[in-house]
């Protein structure tokens, strides 16, 4: 969406922005709040706040997605504090009452969400290679046997999956911690 202000000004515009970003905002809120109802409430509140502040959005300063995530971040923190829900960010945010602590908790949730989103962007071959080897911890040989491909192919898929993950994470605004 190139120009969100007029887009958010109409029902069709809101619908389009929701189609582009609503589900990922929801997944982020879901990961943070751990509750479907609250996550949906967070998305609704995010769109209301975005609509109210549409005049202040400057697409030269950042993407619409980044702007929406800045809003949903605040919504999630507000909801966490208001309702003291668990788990995810809320457990830390509500008990700490400390801005730095909240930021750290938020960063962890944000990275987790970015990884999930980035994995969705991979090809099926790359994603399954990474999931089998890294998340399921299966030996390369087992995966190669299961897929009926040479072990070198599995290694190559994992390598390219990591490369693609890096690009996708950067696109999602990932901050490397090294």
């Amino acid at each position: 969406v190139a120009d969100p202000q007029p887009a958010l000004a109409t029902d069709d515009g809101v619908r389009a922005v929701y189609a582009a970003h609503g589900p990922e905002l929801y997944r982020f809120a879901m990961r943070s709040l751990g509750d479907r109802g609250l996550a949906e409430e967070a998305v609704q509140e995010t769109f209301v706040r975005a609509w109210r502040a549409a005049g202040r959005f400057d697409d030269e300063l950042g993407s619409l997605r980044t702007w929406l995530f800045a809003i949903v971040r605040n919504v999630v923190i507000d909801l966490s504090r208001a309702r003291a829900v668990r788990p995810g960010l809320s457990a830390v945010a509500t008990s700490a009452g400390d801005g730095l602590f909240v930021d750290e908790a938020f960063d962890r949730v944000l990275t987790a969400w970015q990884v999930e989103e980035a994995l969705r962007m991979l090809s099926d071959e790359h994603r399954s290679a990474l999931i089998e080897v890294h998340y399921r911890g299966r030996p390369y040989t087992d995966v190669a046997l299961a897929l009926g491909v040479p072990i070198g192919t599995v290694k190559s898929r994992v390598y390219y999956a990591l490369k693609a993950m890096r690009l996708a994470l950067e696109e999602l605004g990932w901050n490397r911690d090294d």
């Binding site: 029902d11 929701y18 609503g22 998305v43 609509w51 962890r108 080897v133 290694k155 994992v158 993950m165």
Partner: protein, 223 residues
């Protein structure tokens, strides 16, 4: 610089980033990395990605992704529409409040005009003409008010740049100030009030800044 040899080490590089390097391959990979800055940089990049992967548990990745209900889009639209309506209503209320304030102010002005200059005419007053010195002249209408005597005065022939006092004197001989004003040669209308009941006022007079009398008149008894 990526070379043909670098391409051969890509698989082991990915495995090393995940901490899953084959021991047999690792010795050769280390030897290659010692002489290849590009592959060392790439290993750093991929290792950072591998660390990020650990922010999500295997259970979260393997379990079906959570998706919003199909009704969420409709609820978002509804909330935004409601907010738009509420904002519009707030704006209308502000406009109406402004209009109401304007109407109220206009009503006050109209009421004042009606009281002062309406068909009933001014409240009954005592007209007093003051005798002046040095070309000063004034005529007044005195009216009894709740806090004293209101003085409507038309005055002319005073020295510009000077200031003057208007006084009323009561039956006891005490002078009561009705206020000060600047001098003008042309005719000027003033409204002043002295904290002395009209019924007790015996004299109306004006002094300059040196307390010299420039305008003076006796007030006929209204009792």
């Amino acid at each position: 610089v990526t070379t043909e040899a670098c391409r051969d080490w890509r698989g082991p590089l990915g495995a090393a980033a995940l901490g899953r390097a084959d021991p047999a391959e690792e010795i050769g990979l280390r030897a290659h990395l010692d002489g290849c800055a590009a592959c060392r940089a790439e290993l750093r990049d991929l290792t950072a990605v591998a660390r990020a992967l650990d922010s999500v548990s295997a259970t979260d990745i393997i379990s079906p992704p959570s998706e919003p209900s199909g009704a969420l889009a409709g609820r978002v639209l509804e909330r935004v529409a409601r907010e738009r309506g509420a904002q519009s209503a707030r704006r209308n209320r502000r406009v109406m409040a402004g209009v109401s304030a304007f109407v109220a102010a206009a009503a006050v002005v109209i009421a004042v005009v009606l009281v002062v200059g309406g068909g009933a005419g001014p409240a009954p007053g005592t007209r007093v003409v003051l005798e002046g010195v040095g070309g000063a002249r004034a005529s007044t209408v005195l009216r009894a008010g709740p806090v004293g005597t209101h003085v409507d005065m038309k005055v002319a022939g005073l020295e510009p740049g000077q200031y003057y006092w208007l006084w009323l004197t009561g039956a006891s001989g005490h002078r009561i100030p009705a206020g000060t004003f600047g001098g003008r040669r042309q005719s000027t209308d003033l409204q002043l009030t002295a904290a002395l009941p009209l019924a007790k006022a015996r004299r109306i007079w004006v002094t300059d800044d040196k307390d010299r009398v420039v305008l003076d008149a006796r007030i006929p008894s209204t009792e």
